[in-house]
Every structure is written in C-alpha cells, then in structure tokens.
Symmetry: C2
Subunit: 231 residues, 2 copies
DNA sequence: CGACACGTTGATGTTAGTCAACTTTGGTGG
DNA sequence: CCACCAAAGTTGACTAACATCAACGTGTCG
C-alpha cells in the first residue's frame, strides 16, 4: 500500500489533483522525512535541489541581511508546498518550528513530473497565487502598522491558521492555542525586537484582550477588541 | 492580422507559450485598453472580474488600511501579468503610474482558456513563483531595513527593472532613469513618510552617490557605494 | 538544586514621524 | 510671454515610537 493512501494531507495538498496511478508515480520519486524544531530543510541562496509537501508541523521561511538581521517571510502548515520548482536558487531558508514531517522530492524529478501533469501544476498555481495574496497582505502590516497592530494581527492570523482540519467541521477559528513561535521568532515575523514584542504581549494581557497561561500559550478573551487593535 | 503579431511583449509575456492558432483564440477573448497616470484598472476588495497583461507602462499594486494608510505591494512592468485568476476577489488595487497599455481579459474567459492550455498555465506559474520570490525579498526590506537602506535598495531595483528590453542586449542596468513614482509613492513602496524619503534623497545626493537632475530623474553616480548603503 | 535559555521590565537613545513653514516646478490663462 | 497658482517637494523643529542596553525574573532539565 502507498504511504500516500493514509496521508493526512492527501486530500488537501497538491496531490489531491492526482488519480491513483499518478499518485503511485509521484510516490516513487518522493520520500518522507522528519524534522526537529530548529532543523533546516534548505538554506537561503542554496541551489534549489528539493521541494516538499508539509504533512505535519509548522515551518518558517526566512531571509536575512549580511549583518545578521532576520525576517521571517512565510510560515507553512500541513498541506502547504515548500521550495522553488522551475528555478535555480532558493530565496529563503526553511526551518522547522515544531516537530515536522514532510514529503520530499528532488526538484528536477518534481519539475519533470509536474510538466507531465497539468492538473498538478494547476493546483500548485492556485496555491502559489493564494500565498502571493497572503504575502502581499503581510507587506501592509510590515510597512504601515504599529507594534500593537502588528501583534494583534499576528495573533488573529494564528488563531485562523492553526486550526486542526480533522477536528470538527464548523469551527473556523481558535480561541486558545499553542504558539509555535518563540518571542524572538514572533519579532522576526513582525519586523520588531523581542523586547517590543514582549511589551505588547504584556499590554494586551493587561488590557484584558488576551490571556497568557504559559509562555507558548495564548487565549483570546476579546476577539472583537483584538480585531479593532489590529487596525 | 492579429494585434498580437506586432505586440512588443509577444515574446516575453505569458502569450509566448502559445502557437499561432492558440494566440488567435486568446486574442478573441481579449481587448486592448489604455490608462492614464492615476487611472485604476481594479480596486482592492472588488470581485475579481478582470486579468490583464501589461504591454506598456508601469502600474502599482496597492492596499491600504481603513484609516487611509497605503502600502504599495507590487510594481508591474511590460510583459507582467495582472489580476487574480482562479480566485474570487482582488487583494489589491491596480493603478497606472505612467501612461499605460494593457491587454485585458474577463477573468472567467481567461480561467477557462488557461485550464485548456497547460503551457500557458506553466508560464503563469513561473511568473507567479518569480513574483512571490521578489515579494518575499521586499519583506526583508520592509521589516528590517533603515530608511537609507530602503531608498538605496529601491533605486538599485529601479535601475534594474526599468531597462527597455528592445534597446541593446548586454546592458543589464541603468545609470540614469526617470522615476515613475512621486515622492509620496516612493514612500508608499518603502513604508516611510514623504518627508523621510525626501531627506534620504537629499542625503544620497549630498554624499555624491546619486544626482537628481530633476524631480523625477535619478543618476546613479556611485553604484558600488549605493549597494553598500542598501545593506 | 543549580545552570541556562527564555522572557520581562526599566532606563535611555535613536530613528523616523509629525507639524509647519517655505521653495520649486509646471501648468494655465490673461 | 509672463504672472500667478496649485501641487509637489524640501527643510527645520519637535515628538513619539521603537530600539538598545542592562538588569532582573522564571521555568526547564540535567
């Protein structure tokens, strides 16, 4: 039996465009891999040798300047696609934030496969367009929002993106969740320093909009007010 | 004779994936349109009814907050693709910065055509992936760079992107060019205020890195130093 | 229990934003 | 052709927001 048949993202990842025979062919060129928090799958500037699908876990995409400043330019979740097909270099590093499982392909193999399977390319195009939309919305945050607006926006986005797809049906947002980010990583997403992030967390808690049961846990107490704060 | 046959972007836009018959079919569902500076082709949040190819001119993609802050999230040049195929809403406005000519399609017609022409979808995918790469690089600028780094980076990018593709072959960057942006628009690209942009222009000129023969013209005097300034 | 990484808090500094005055430019009509 | 005007850009003084530097908790794991 194909590993794909029991894959939890089978029906959501780009693989969902393939029938059984095609899936078998794709499976033949891919392999599973697990990553621990902090472990990288690829590095900025490196030749684009791999692409992958996220099966489980959360990973960050990040770039940096020569002098060590870092910016997280994307966050990927189960069923998301990683890597740069049809291109020679990787524009950003990919690093696991949590324990993660991915389905990895050689870029060359994947490129060849994709060219022969327009339905797969179509799914990939849809995903890429959606990711571009999301990324552009994030630019508004980076360029024009204040620290408190940034953090509020971030927490709301988290509460929408961290939903486990298997549990329940109607639930569209989370009220309580575990952040897959350290304070430094939140700062790297929002273009702030760790101190500013910490202060804004404290303020949102003091104002009663959120609660922080532990370092990594967030409870949204007043979503309305948080949305207002997000600008 | 098809208008496409004499189209200056025929060999660079996504149309380059099509043979004569296919081009004829695509031409049948498209039409030309001209835009004046400041004129918009679509608006943020609107239903996605149009897509287009840029034939001539420069256009901005922009989003804003409720309270009027604006962020330019992309800039498109001849042969670039505009709009959101396979999606219901437009995430950002599209407005001409210069006189522009575009080749417009109804999104529904285009979607249907694209689904039947995998080579076109492939080109579109390549373009979208490249645009996503560029957008992510811009996030580093917005999140982590200082005002002077931002302006220096911006001028260097302009000098690379404004090259007329027809003139010459080897020339890969421009030393002198006309900015298609007002100071306010530069500010909206970089996530700064107009005053800060103006001060940084003055400083770069005073330091001898650039010259400003007129409001809209820029001459790069010391590309080396400008690149260093860009961080 | 202690060490260390992670996070918070406070004091101070710097950068870019704000507000306001002034200058330049380009366009229009007398 | 020139005078005038509005729009765009520049400059200066001041302020606010965030960064920086530094000290101080806190929880996690050997």
């Amino acid at each position: 039996m194909l590993p794909c048949e029991t894959c939890v993202v089978r029906n959501r990842a780009i693989c969902s465009s393939l029938d059984m025979d095609e899936l078998k062919a794709l499976n033949a060129i891919g392999r599973r891999r697990t990553l621990e928090p902090g472990e990288s799958l690829m590095w900025e500037g490196e030749d684009s040798v791999l692409v992958a699908n996220v099966i489980e876990g959360v990973l960050k995409l990040s770039t940096g300047t020569e002098d060590g400043r870092e910016q997280i330019v994307g966050v990927v979740y189960p069923s998301d696609f990683i890597g740069r097909p049809f291109g020679s270099t990787t524009g950003h590093g990919v690093t696991a934030l949590t324990d993660a499982r991915v389905c990895v392909f050689s870029r060359q193999d994947f490129d060849a496969f994709a060219r022969d399977h327009p339905k797969l390319e179509h799914k990939l195009l849809q995903r890429t367009l959606a990711e571009l939309d999301r990324t552009r919305r994030w630019m508004l945050l980076l360029g024009r929002k204040s620290a408190s607006e940034k953090l509020a926006s971030f927490l709301l986005e988290m509460s929408e993106r961290l939903i486990e797809p298997n549990c329940g049906h109607g639930e569209t947002v989370l009220t309580r969740f575990a952040l897959p980010f350290s304070r430094q990583q939140v700062a790297d997403v929002l273009g702030l320093t760790i101190e500013t992030v910490s202060r804004q967390f404290t303020r949102l808690k003091a104002d009663g909009l959120i609660d922080l049961p532990s370092r990594r846990e967030v409870v949204i107490l007043d979503r309305e007010a948080l949305a207002a704060e997000a600008g």
